[in-house]
């Protein structure tokens, strides 16, 4: 059985016929070839696959593609305008908020959402906001600094 869905990703509407069990992350990566969204686990813990679904940050490994039918999805590829980065992206670059880079797309998407909810977060609020995203390289310190810098830049 397959289902036709239409999902607007980074501003472009895409119609595709998919298996009902296809995960949104695999729709993005394998059907649309948007490989910036990563898969880091299979139990919804790591957050590497975080994207925006309408107004929410979601783990796209925990959403079926069919559930995204009719929604607007933003992925890491949809943030920058050419080489003009968002304050969060710029913060990650300026503050050395990444090393291997694998968790980074999910971290950035979470941080974008976090700053929308709370444009002026304390260090503790940033750390709490990252509870759903794992990083094994940075010890989180420069990720926290990056988000703090982005908040400052956005004010």
């Amino acid at each position: 059985m397959t289902v036709e869905i239409t999902v607007t990703v980074n501003g472009t509407a895409h119609t595709a016929t998919v298996e009902p069990r296809l995960l949104l992350v695999h729709f993005l990566r394998d059907v649309l070839d948007l490989t910036g969204t990563h898969v880091g686990c299979d139990t919804s813990q790591c957050g590497a696959c975080t994207v925006h679904l309408n107004e929410d940050a979601v783990k796209s490994c925990t959403v079926f593609a069919v559930q995204a039918d009719g929604t607007e999805v933003t992925t890491i590829e949809g943030l920058a305008d050419g080489e003009s980065y968002t304050p969060v992206q710029q913060g990650f670059w300026d503050e050395h908020g990444l090393q291997c880079g694998f968790c980074t797309p999910g971290m950035i998407m979470t941080a974008e959402w976090l700053l929308k909810q709370n444009p002026d977060p304390s260090e503790a609020e940033i750390r709490a906001g990252l509870a759903g995203n794992y990083c094994r390289c940075t010890g989180y310190q420069n990720i926290v600094n990056a988000i703090g810098a982005a908040a400052k830049a956005g004010r």
């Binding site: 296809l22 990252l130 509870a131 094994r136 010890g139």
Partner: protein, 793 residues
């Protein structure tokens, strides 16, 4: 972007692609006709394979082929070991098991299908009939008579019985002034958890007979060599590519079964084959770290003088010998038992023991964290026993500073160090005296506050190849570099080291920019593609800059020398009157006689006017083999607060003062220290791989394994002292692992310090809330019983 200098915190050139989703990891590779592979893995820790029925899987939708271990037995040699020890038992390690499975996760068959979903579905349909055998997971118990045996080659499951000693420990403890403190310490098994799991894409070109393997590895060149040795595929017809690699931490320094099997199957099928490890699969199929059961003794006098250490270790190596398994718990462990102390007597014996668990290999620090934990924990324990301050005891026993070689009891030569100077700086930043008075006040107020210190030294920068070879290495451990200056003066560097988060593209371009005075953006740094440069070694053991960077430095030296000669020729001057500064050659005192580096490069390729005997072109290769390892050291101080009611340990402060020699890019080194410390804290407080007695991994997913999250940490306070290394031209030491090595003992010493007044003397990691709560309860119970006994008497 301008030119960069050695010592600048240059922002990373890798980042623009990685912050915009344009990195390319193995799973991002798509090839025409690509198929997908899934592995069928044993659910039992120890079993004989009676039969494998693949018929249902073979008929499942989209399935192209199914192979069992028996099908491929003839084509697959055993997986090799890259480090040997005397009398090492090396049982066969088939990439796919065909007779016996020896751990949960041992692969028995593979299914190849059009899509990954179809392959995973069909893998469920492979019906393996197992005869379940008794299993053993504890390394000490595995050595006892009557324990289940894994391999007929290894009696009592012992792969090796290795020892090292210096001085005469037994004689030293005969002194009546010497007290001996004994402790059993378990250094728990850890699961590395790089955020990118492993993955392979194999692409066999049947026309040319060439195989390309894209693999998430730290050692692409070794994978090429070992793939060739295992399968007989000619080495010149193998290309291994490590694209963007999402972390490794030692778990990607082995040659793995999946790399071999993907290559073989692609060749059989004539189509590209992709395998991407799921996280849960990574928990059982990718190597683990640590897992020592140790009986340790430290001996010293009441005045604080330490006279020796004695260590017996059961090192759990899992079901098979992984590539570097024999090295990690032996040399990388035993050599470090003297630490930064005079330590005149050292005795160390290590049994490597097979068990029905996932193979154990390097994990960040690899042997040094285990040694450092024992030593730093026991030095603080010794101080506690003799009623002296742990810092005073450390200071009393510390080696004097030295700039060029200090022989120590374990038989090695530390390269350079100023251990007391480093300690002093850390204490100054931390304000140790101030803390102790704060702690007394906190205790009066009923708060449990503790401080822990570790003054570590470690071994990095493998290796002087002749030394490594004498210790058992089966390959040279130098590093290579190729510098290709193009006719326009732009530069391509190939390094044999293979980054997976370390930022080589930035730091090596920075080194080129600093040396040649060219802009950063004129330099392209390539790595991890065996077709793009000379044979290399890879990135592990904190070696990339001290060995790989030194190789690059030497290549740049050759480039500069040739360009200098050519420039002098073209400027019609004696070379000794030609200077090279800011990317420009000039004749001294003649202002208008100069040439840019780019002009010289063009002339080298134009070849219209070369000095007699000079070949055209401007390209150089260097292989750098150091004369010694490098020995970073430092002081980490940690403050914890413990909630008496719940046992919850909170980190209050963390000060790290490391000495990694000269620092090329401070921002990157600080980042490595942050990440390293976080992993050491993870071991101290949360992480632990847990097996049931019959070999099921209970902590088998990210749901069950307590990886540290952002809210666990305070802002780390990171600083440095600088003692250049004399063993490489850059004066650098390794910086990738020191944080991990230093952190676990610092944290655990703080936990014990917070509870010391209750009589707590030791606790094994991780210091979970439950464990700490029980320790407090037991200690108070003991104190109450003692008071009651005192009242009665």
């Amino acid at each position: 972007m301008a030119t960069a200098l050695f010592g600048d915190s240059v922002k990373r050139t890798e980042d623009p692609r990685l912050i915009t989703g344009r990195g390319k990891y193995v799973d991002d590779i798509r090839l025409t006709g690509m198929t997908h592979m899934a592995f069928v893995r044993s659910p039992y820790a120890h079993a004989n394979i009676r039969s494998v029925d693949t018929s249902a899987a073979a008929n499942a939708p989209g399935v192209l082929t199914v192979f069992t271990g028996a099908d491929l037995q003839e084509q697959l040699g055993g997986l090799p070991v890259a480090w040997l020890l005397p009398d090492l038992k090396q049982p066969p390690h088939p990439p796919l098991a065909y007779e016996t499975v020896r751990y949960v996760g041992d692969a028995v068959a593979v299914v190849v299908a059009d899509t990954a979903y179809q392959a995973a579905d069909a893998a469920e349909l492979v019906d393996v009939d197992y005869e379940i055998l008794p299993a053993i997971v504890n390394a000490e118990a595995a050595t006892k008579d009557g324990a289940p045996q894994l391999h007929s080659e290894a009696e009592n499951n012992i792969a090796w019985d290795w020892n090292i000693s210096g001085g005469d420990y037994d004689e030293a403890i005969k002194d009546p002034d010497v007290i001996v403190i004994k402790q059993r310490i378990v250094n728990q098994r850890l699961i590395p958890n790089s955020m990118e799991t492993r993955g392979v894409v194999a692409d066999f070109d049947s026309g040319r007979g060439n195989l390309t393997l894209y693999t998430s590895t730290q050692i692409p060149h070794f994978v090429k060599l070992l793939y060739s040795l295992v399968t007989g595929h000619p080495e010149q017809k193998i290309r291994v590519v490590a694209p963007d690699v999402g972390g490794g931490f030692g778990s990607k320094i082995s040659i793995y079964a999946e790399e071999i099997v993907c290559g073989i199957v692609s060749k059989q099928l004539g189509r590209p084959v992709k395998w991407i490890e799921s996280r849960s699969e990574a928990y059982i199929a990718t190597t683990h770290g640590r897992d020592h059961i140790t009986d340790v003794e430290i001996a010293g006098k009441k005045d604080g003088e330490i006279v020796g250490i004695k260590v017996d270790v059961y090192a759990n190596i899992g079901a098979y010998l992984s590539t570097f398994a024999p090295l990690v718990p032996t040399w990388l462990f035993g050599l470090m038992l003297g630490g930064v102390y005079k330590m005149p007597n050292v005795v160390c014996r290590v049994w490597g023991v097979f068990t029905n668990t996932t193979p154990v290999d390097a994990y960040r620090g690899a042997g040094r964290p285990e040694a450092t934990f024992l030593l730093e924990r026991m030095v603080s324990r010794f101080a506690q026993e003799i009623g002296r301050d742990p810092i005073a005891v450390r200071r009393k026993n510390m080696l004097a500073s030295h700039k060029n070689g200090r022989a120590v009891t374990t038989g090695v030569m530390y390269d350079s160090g100023d251990y007391k100077g480093n300690l002093n700086k850390a204490l100054e930043i931390f304000d140790y005296r101030g803390f102790r008075s704060e702690q007394r006040a906190a205790r009066r107020a009923g708060k449990l506050l503790g401080v822990g210190i570790s003054t570590y030294i470690e071994i990095t920068g493998a290796a002087p190849s002749a030394v490594a070879s004498s210790l058992g290495a089966q390959a040279g451990l130098w590093e290579s570099s190729n510098v290709r200056v193009h006719p326009t003066g732009k530069i391509t560097v190939y390094t044999g080291s293979s980054p997976h988060g370390q930022g080589h593209e930035t730091t090596l371009a920075q080194l080129v920019s600093s040396e040649l005075g060219v802009p950063m953006e004129d330099v392209e740094v390539l790595h991890g593609d065996t077709d793009q440069g000379p044979f290399g070694v890879g990135t592990f053991g904190s070696r990339s800059l001290s060995v790989g960077g030194a190789a690059l430095f030497n290549s740049l030296g050759k480039i500069k020398a040739k360009a200098h000669t050519l420039a002098a020729h073209l400027l019609e001057s004696d070379p000794k009157f030609v200077t090279f500064e800011g990317g420009s050659f000039a004749v001294e005192d003649i202002p208008d006689k100069s040439m840019t580096f780019q002009e010289v490069a063009g002339a080298a390729y134009g070849a219209a006017n070369l000095p007699p005997g000079m070949e055209p072109g401007l390209e150089e290769i260097s292989f750098f083999d150091p004369t010694n390892f490098t020995w970073p050291f430092g002081t980490h101080i940690c403050v914890v607060e413990i909630d008496e009611d719940t046992g919850q340990v909170s980190l209050v402060r963390y000060v790290a003062v490391d000495d990694v020699g000269n620092v090329l890019n401070p921002m990157i080194v600080d980042g490595m220290v942050h990440g390293g410390v976080a992993q050491g804290i993870g071991q101290a407080l949360t992480e632990q791989a847990v097996y049931t007695d019959d070999g099921q991994l209970l902590s088998g997913s990210l749901m069950d394994y307590a990886l540290p999250s952002a809210d666990m940490f305070p802002m780390l306070e990171v600083d440095r002292t600088v003692t250049p290394s004399p063993v490489n031209p850059l004066g650098v030491k390794g910086a990738g692992e020191c944080g991990t090595i230093a952190a676990s003992p610092a944290v655990m010493n703080a936990v014990i310090d917070a509870l010391a007044h209750l009589g707590v003397k030791h606790m094994d990691m991780p210091a979970t809330s439950e464990k700490v709560w029980r320790a407090i309860r037991d200690a108070k119970e003991t104190q109450r019983a003692a008071r009651a006994a005192a009242r009665r008497s």
